[in-house]
Symmetry: C2
């Protein structure tokens, strides 16, 4: 079957953290990564800090409150790896193809994410236990 | 303080999976990644399958038995993200510096990993909840 999209690279690895400062102590201070940007994404209930590494990023995610998605994740599992984001050529086509292949979509259509990208999430239950974010710049 | 090492890139993202085949259904068949190599690393109790993506890799980890480290991880948390591996310039210097900064090392000295690299793990309790693998090629 012809593939409708290409995966270009790992866009970022999302890490849930109690506070951005706690995350920076590790990723910036201990490992020497540079901060690219920090912003609040109110729609997703998080403060986001991006650190550059190679051709990808580490994304620190601090919840804006306990009832947010990341807040609930922290309460259940504690800080740690939260999701993997992949950059794709065509997010609409990716969602169509993944759905046709049986993936359970959290977002049936793309929405606005950090940095003004289009993003959509795929549920870990259909994806080898990994919360996958599709990103189109 | 002068830094004793540089972090070059994300070497790979480790994903614990019940079987390599289950992982390939997602990462190769649904997302279109290419398999680079498959090998058994008996010392770590895993079968390892590397898939290339951008300048990094997805590493599928299938346990060789329930008493292995990945086997226990699967029993406790199910399949999903297991660790992040970073390539460093000097793994010995990295371990010294991270230890001096208070990191809890799983490996005080490097050991042989997949593909003949030197590797060492840092405990998630001292690292923002992330199991970190240092890699020197």
């Amino acid at each position: 079957m012809r593939r409708l999209f290409r995966l270009l690279k790992i866009d970022h690895i999302g890490i849930a953290t109690t506070s951005i400062e706690e995350g920076l102590a590790v990723w910036r201070d201990a490992l020497g990564l540079q901060v690219d940007s920090t912003e609040e994404v109110a729609e997703q209930g998080v403060k986001v800090c991006m650190l550059a590494v190679g051709d990808t990023h580490v994304e620190l995610l601090e919840p804006l409150g306990p009832e947010t998605s990341v807040g609930k994740f922290l309460a259940k599992r504690g800080p740690g790896m939260h999701h993997i984001a992949v950059e794709v050529t065509d997010i609409e086509a990716s969602l169509t193809e993944l759905k046709n292949k049986g993936a359970r979509l959290i977002d049936e259509t793309p929405r606005m994410g950090a940095g003004g990208c289009l993003v959509a999430f795929v549920h870990p239950s259909s994806f080898n236990g990994v919360l996958l974010e599709l990103v189109q710049h």
